[in-house]
Subunit: 449 residues, 3 copies
């Protein structure tokens, strides 16, 4: 099982996957009409420009996915090649797969239309297995990550379709469909891969050192500054601007709160870098689902305070409990950064949905809560309010998170079982959190001098 | 005084501050009309989009504040957690406080209007205490930084109002109101907290190592590339484009000059990383106040050459002199990066203002030098030129910097006195520039192997 | 030759160059009309805004040049000051020089018009000597880099003018004019500076350590995420959006392929960081020249797969062969990241050009292949197709790369001869890849404790 042959066959499978992608792109994907040259003499439709106005936000999200996630995970002192390298690899794999999977759900006359929107969606989808990888960091092989990504993104696309298009819930920043899904899927996989009960102590290479903690802050800070782009990219007009403002304020409040709670609950009241690296971002997740709603500045700040508090307490008390009682190891604490704050966001969305009125949301109701509008969806019908009422929408929001959790956990358990019981090589305890299993690593620095 | 109780009460005060912010947001802050949903059937006013066109520049400034300042200050080899962490904490605190403080000065019918503009202003305001923190880096507790930020941002908002709205000076890139204010405020605090004369030597943990110098370059480089956004974000149209071009050229010239002067004045003619990390940016500060004026490319380049030269000479000769003669420690050399170049910018603004004519500035005169326009401010009146004349505007520019210096230094002395003589815990000499006072720090790496 | 005097005179030359730039800016450069204030009462022409819509892409390119190149080159463990510092210095020098050089080729009534376009072009030009520096990294003095930059950028501007304006080839992302030119120029200089045959082994300080490999990933990742901006910035409308999509897909496919091929050809099938840092980006280069053409998603993915494969194989087999047989040292492997993928791009451009029809490209033909349009260039004439036919355009594409290679290699040999045989100080073998020749470097960390 440990022979180079196993590695070689894994990478050959990966090459085959890439070639299958190539064939599927060739068969099914075509540029959208607005991305094709205009007929000579045609009016400038300007539709290409409309897409491209989202381009700066797309680039911000690119930085979040590749730099943000990649460097946040470099906190492990002997796993930095893998953190940055596997992030690049998984994101590059998933963006292609997601264009295809999400495309198949929205085909027109048998073809997938390709435009900037698709690659924005693809970058968002790439966040999902990267979140899950955070729960497993250092305990899987790249080939297991490949397998997990393929399963997970297919399920993610299906669940997102169900939540947004069938259940018609609001989830502007994706806290339900992206963060909750990715976190609980990853935790379910981690539960399946949990160590034998006599091997439950932390791995000897698990943990940060001074410099790896600082390089992780590169990830944290880029995630922090660009989070408003992540939450607002799919919103338009005034709703998009509210998404920016609410996310910014929630992050700010969560950050201040993180420092307070971290100092109050930590040993000798010293600040803990794990909290600063992660819980400061909880405000972005917790405001995600509701970021385009009429929260008011105080609503956003309140959500941030709650998120920062819950996240730090989760790191301090819940994660150790899960590790010792369920043998559930969550290397990056994705439960505290993505899982719990996403639950807060889902609950907040039910509360705010229950208070929605046509008077407040006016012409935006149709965009944000389409199911609350009459069947033919015209502005006139909005006034009539023939659709779902507010408490019913609130119920759907809760239903949406419950369904997401069931699919994520079910899918994660299944995926974990495949990784554990089929022919995959599983890393042994002493191989955990160590680049040198899969990377050529230079000799130690002090020997070089 | 050194007991954990002191720390705990500090953090509890911080929590109370955050809750007061929450209440003030709830009482006073409302979304601006353009951020609210449009009435059904209303024409698309497009005003939301107008704000949002500044969004990419806002994001650049976010990177400057959080990544730029944070990583530039990681040059201290044992203070990287604090550099990145306190930057995150102070910026998150100040953006909220600044929305409130600047909002109170511009309330309409008792409410503060919230839009993207406010958070752009808030990010700019966050630069002010971060500049001051650079002067004090490693010699304050986080609770002292909290206290300083609250005082300083209130004074900054008042001074900015005075300079821009009352004195009507031009200061497009904020060199007077942001850089000079932040630098001299911080230096005044540092003067008040200066060591006893028998403790004036450098702290034993002060200084960089090889890797901390490189991580500081992350900060430098992001500040460099995004500085045109900082200087141009508040300008419009052609003035905004000139601000970009002038800032870019001034930075380029300052950078080349920094390398020359650094090599010429340093030991064995070797380049000094401190100069490269800081003086290369002096071009951005020195061009700030005048960046939207008709400098011409040569004007911008000349300002950059002067700024790079003055800044390196400041690091090489003036800072050591201030330390040994006034016991004024300026950890990051903010005087050379922000203080002196801001003075250059103020002087340049007087020179260029003295040459302003209606023929040159045409329709932009009203935006850039509103006091030079007749009382009713119409285009016709511009032709009449009933307002301030050019030499009078030049005088006001100089008056603006003098007032700013007085308020900054006065406010800094007062704040320093509060930090020193009231109940705050002051760090002792051997606690300086050391994360482990306030952070859980992992054991040394070489012991981990 | 090794005396400080040599250094001093080098830096004085640099100062003189900066002052000459100042004078040339003063004599020849003026703001473009749209960057000047509008006449009072004039309609808002909106032309300034049109430029500024490229501003976010410009900023992405800034990050690529300064952060991307700078940090990618920090992989050398004792050359990080130089990697980040010289990048800053050379880019700051070259952007000024390139505004002048490219401006002289497009003067109107004896003046160079300055607008955002010029500094976008300047940033792209800065990539050229930075690519060449990659081939020489660690084996030149800063003064040699200065000299090389001045020669190279002048030649680059001339060659680009020849290729785009005279030969009228398409090269949207600059793979021919920027990447091939920079790579082969640098390699030619490296060939001229090659070591004596008894000194051909690798320098003792050449190579990465664990932390320098991770900081290089900062560069890689920013280059990756912003590459679509580099390739699309000079394209407009639908062509610009295609450039984004094709570049994104090619990068993703190259990245997955790099992981596969790296594992398959490396020792013990372990991944090699050199490949991950560099070959993942080969997809961006290989798609460059053709990125705005109608490749289809499958075309972009196929180009990425080929580029990733060729680039890794180049690192694994070709570079060691060139080193041992030609004594051609290529420190960063620019031949594999820029050279070979640019050749792929040129060949791809001939293939795609040979298939161009008016029916496919419609109104964009005029922009993308102007020589294929009738002499007076009107839309009517396009229909007539009086210009070059498709196979002739394909021939011109190949002619363009051949001419570029000749000029780059010829210019590089000449420049290398100047650096070697004239009065420049050449670094000795044991001074290679070592910051401390030209930088003040702190004592080793372990001695500081």
């Amino acid at each position: 099982m440990h022979s180079p042959t196993a590695k070689v066959s894994g990478y050959i499978v990966l090459m085959i996957v890439q070639i299958i992608f190539l064939i599927l792109f060739w068969l099914f994907v075509r540029y959208e009409k607005a991305v094709l040259p205009q007929a000579i003499g045609a009016e400038d439709a300007g539709s290409a420009n409309e897409h491209v106005s989202k381009y700066p936000q797309f680039q911000d999200i690119q930085v979040m996915i590749f730099i943000g996630f990649g460097f946040l995970m470099t906190f492990l002192r002997k796993y930095g090649y893998s953190a940055t390298g596997y992030t690049l690899f998984m994101a590059a794999l998933v963006v292609q797969w997601s264009i295809l999977m999400k495309g198949f759900l929205h085909m027109e006359s048998g073809k997938i239309s390709l435009s900037l929107e698709n690659i924005i969606d693809a970058d968002i989808a790439a966040a999902v297995p990267l979140i899950s990888m955070g729960a497993l960091l250092g305990r899987t092989t790249p080939i297991q990550l490949l397998c997990m990504s393929i399963f997970e993104v297919a399920l993610f696309a299906a669940n997102e379709y169900l939540a947004l298009n069938v259940l018609s819930i609001c989830d502007c920043g994706g806290s339900i469909t992206v963060h909750a899904f990715g976190a609980y899927f990853g935790l379910a996989v981690a539960l399946m891969l949990r160590p034998a009960s006599d091997q439950n102590e932390a791995g000897k290479h698990e943990g940060a050192n001074y410099l790896s903690d600082i390089s992780a802050m590169i990830g944290t800070t880029f995630l922090w500054v660009y989070w408003p782009s992540f939450n607002s990219v799919l919103a338009d007009g005034a709703g998009g601007e509210r998404a920016i403002l609410n996310t910014f304020l929630s992050l700010a409040a969560a950050t201040v709160t993180t420092f307070v709670v971290s100092a109050l609950v930590s040993h000798e009241n010293k600040l803990d870098m794990v909290h600063v690296q992660n819980s400061t971002l909880a405000g972005g997740v917790a405001v995600g689902t509701v970021c385009n709603l009429l929260l008011g500045a105080h609503g956003a700040v309140l959500i941030g305070i709650i998120a920062g508090t819950v996240s730090v307490l989760g790191y301090r008390y819940l994660t150790p409990w899960l590790t010792s009682n369920l043998r559930l190891h969550d290397t990056c604490g994705v439960h505290n950064l993505h899982g719990l704050p996403a639950l807060i966001s889902a609950i907040a969305s039910a509360i705010y949905a229950s208070m929605v009125t046509v008077d407040d949301y006016q012409s935006e109701l149709e965009d944000i809560f389409p199911a609350m509008v009459g069947n033919n969806g015209t502005a006139t019908k909005i006034m009539g309010g023939l659709g779902r009422n507010a408490s019913s929408q609130a119920g759907y929001q809760l239903f949406g998170i419950v369904v997401t959790l069931l699919i994520a956990i079910g899918g994660g358990i299944l995926t974990g079982a495949v990784l554990k019981y089929t022919n995959f090589r599983n890393l042994q305890k002493d191989e955990h959190h160590l680049d040198e299993q899969y990377w050529e690593v230079p000799a130690l620095e002090n020997k070089e001098e």
